[in-house]
């Protein structure tokens, strides 16, 4: 079966985030960018499904500027077979991203679509669920285990208070949580091979999708800094402070 994986180019998770002085956003100039960590887990899961003989082809898709092709190449180096780049320099929000991915789903007809549960920039946690709604598919969000079984997929989900398993008809959408797997690193020979794998580029207009934003960001500020307090000498002083100064116990 064919598996579609969506990946997003975001700020590298090790980079210290700085808000621009004019409060219009986060400063991304000359900042290291990388594949969103949850998307790496999505790619890894697809590759493992292929290694198990469950998936036959892995198509990776990314929406973003020209440079997003770097993340598609990374996915190809990890084991995806071909890439689709939806090229736009506009900010694409979740609903519009879901509409673009829907157009790709209609063309590619994958049995399984795997996405990260959220991107570490906008932290929205929306696109997978929206794609599932728009395509009329079931969804297994925050997955910690994915087992394809005939025409169904069983997804174990990380939920408040524990785990929950659902069975979904295929085709279905899965979004990854942290413990689904531990992504591998790409080997140098595979990075070289990935350069020769096919990568098509399309525009949102080609797919007939209007990506105009529905949400306007009015300002972006740094969070209020918390002041460091005092050091206490021992446990007795700590308990005394908590009881008599902070009055929280």
């Amino acid at each position: 079966m064919k598996v579609l994986v969506a990946v997003k180019r975001v700020i590298d998770y090790n980079v210290k985030v700085r808000v621009k002085p004019d409060n219009t956003g986060v400063d991304l100039a000359n900042v290291k960018m990388a594949m969103n960590p949850f998307c790496e887990i999505a790619v890894e899961e697809a590759v493992r499904l292929k290694e198990k003989g469950v998936a036959s082809e892995i198509v990776v898709v990314s929406i973003g500027p020209k440079a997003a092709q770097e993340q598609i190449r990374t996915a190809l180096a990890l084991g995806a077979d071909r890439g689709i780049h939806i090229e736009t320099d506009e900010e694409v929000q979740s609903l519009e991203a879901a509409k673009l991915l829907k157009a790709v789903v209609e063309k590619e007809e994958p049995k399984l679509v795997i996405l990260g549960k959220q991107s570490i920039d906008s932290d929205n946690n929306q696109t997978g669920q929206m794609l599932a709604a728009l395509t009329g598919m079931g969804q297994g969000t925050f997955a910690s285990e994915v087992v394809v079984d005939g025409d169904k997929v069983n997804v174990t989900r990380e939920v408040d208070g524990g785990l929950m398993t659902v069975a979904l008809n295929l085709p279905a959408v899965v979004t990854t949580d942290l413990r689904l797997n531990e992504p591998r690193y790409a080997s140098l020979p595979n990075i070289m091979k990935a350069k020769k794998k096919p990568l098509d580029s399309v525009s949102p207009a080609d797919l007939g999708v209007d990506v105009a934003a529905r949400l306007s960001t009015l300002k972006v500020e740094a969070p209020a800094a918390r002041q460091a307090g005092i050091k206490v000498a021992d446990v007795a002083e700590l308990v005394d402070k908590l009881k008599n100064e902070a009055k929280v116990i």
Partner: protein, 315 residues
């Protein structure tokens, strides 16, 4: 304006987060109706009707909603919600699951995880794991919003001037796309991590899962919940549902005690809104001390048993 709040519950009791969401709805202003969807939810509906500020409770009681499957719930909420100006729910794992599906069915954007209301269409939310705070204006006719419970003080559970009316809905939506297979819920007599007044969390410094028993003993003295850093979860000490941080639970208790936690950004994103923060760590350079109100530089294996003894004296 009219606001529909989707209640968070477990079919038997109303989760406190729903009261925080009603508080967010009050900040927006307008009539507030609460939708209780689930199976055998009579008691939940009664509790919702008593909450301060609630105008009317709508009940959709059917096996199709019993496990809160997003495919079914979203169709119900989209149909019931289309007459409202705002649809709100808690940003717990249930709300995060079904709400974007509702937004897509209504062809509107969603504003996720708000911590403040600026006006009827403008909301404040953290981005980049709380390293930046965005003010966002929603331009669609229906505002679909998930609310971070810790951002709003809950309304009174029983403070409504008069009990709200309860109306049964006869809308059954079964999308037929998904079914419930099973669940493993962590069994604990301690308070729920997300809403506990006191949280004590352990990190990599705990060294193994058995050592968390020390924290549990202290927690039981204080009536606290026990949490963990991602490092402790990744190391396999404790299960993921105990994780506090950007990718785990967001907590804001009256007192947060971080034991053997260095204070990575990803952890701070989940607890830095706590009222009072205590850090116990043997590394005095640990970043956790930069956000702690009270820091104790000590070996946790000596300090935690001492803490238990000292607490026994005063509690």
């Amino acid at each position: 304006m009219s606001i529909l709040v989707i209640a968070e519950h477990d079919n038997s009791s109303l989760k406190q987060a729903t009261l925080n969401v009603v508080a967010a709805a009050k900040a927006i202003g307008g009539d507030i109706d609460v939708l209780v969807a689930g199976e055998n939810v009579g008691a939940v509906a009664e509790a919702a009707a008593k909450a301060e500020g609630v105008n009317k409770v709508l009940v959709a009681d059917n096996a199709a909603y019993g496990h809160f499957l997003a495919e079914n719930l979203s169709e119900l909420v989209a149909e019931v919600g289309k007459g409202y100006s705002h649809i709100l729910t808690s940003a717990g794992t249930t709300g995060k699951d079904f709400m974007p599906r509702v937004a897509a069915l209504l062809d509107v954007a969603q504003v996720s995880d708000i911590i403040r209301v600026e006006s009827e269409d403008t909301f404040v939310r953290p981005i980049y794991a709380g390293n930046a705070i965005a003010t966002v204006k929603a331009n669609d006719s229906i505002k679909v919003v998930t609310v971070r419970p810790t951002g709003f003080d809950p309304v009174a559970a029983e403070g409504g001037s008069a009990s709200a009316s309860v109306e049964q809905l006869d809308v059954v939506k079964d999308a037929g796309l998904s079914s419930f297979v099973g669940e493993e819920k962590a069994q604990s007599d301690r308070p729920d991590l997300a809403s506990a007044g006191i949280v004590i969390s352990g990190g990599r410094g705990m060294q193994n899962g058995d050592n968390f028993k020390m924290l549990e003993q202290v927690a039981d003295l204080m009536g606290a919940a026990v949490g963990a850093s991602r490092a402790a979860v990744d190391a396999g000490f404790v299960p993921n549902d105990m994780q506090v941080g950007q990718t785990g639970k967001i907590v804001a208790p009256q007192l947060y005690v971080a034991v053997g936690i260095s204070g990575a950004i990803q952890h701070l994103a989940g607890m830095s809104d706590s009222k009072v923060i205590v850090a116990i760590n043997k590394d005095e350079e640990a970043p956790i001390f930069q956000v702690a109100d009270y820091g104790l530089v000590a070996d946790l294996f000596e300090a935690v048993p001492q803490l238990e003894e000292e607490l026994k004296k005063v509690l």
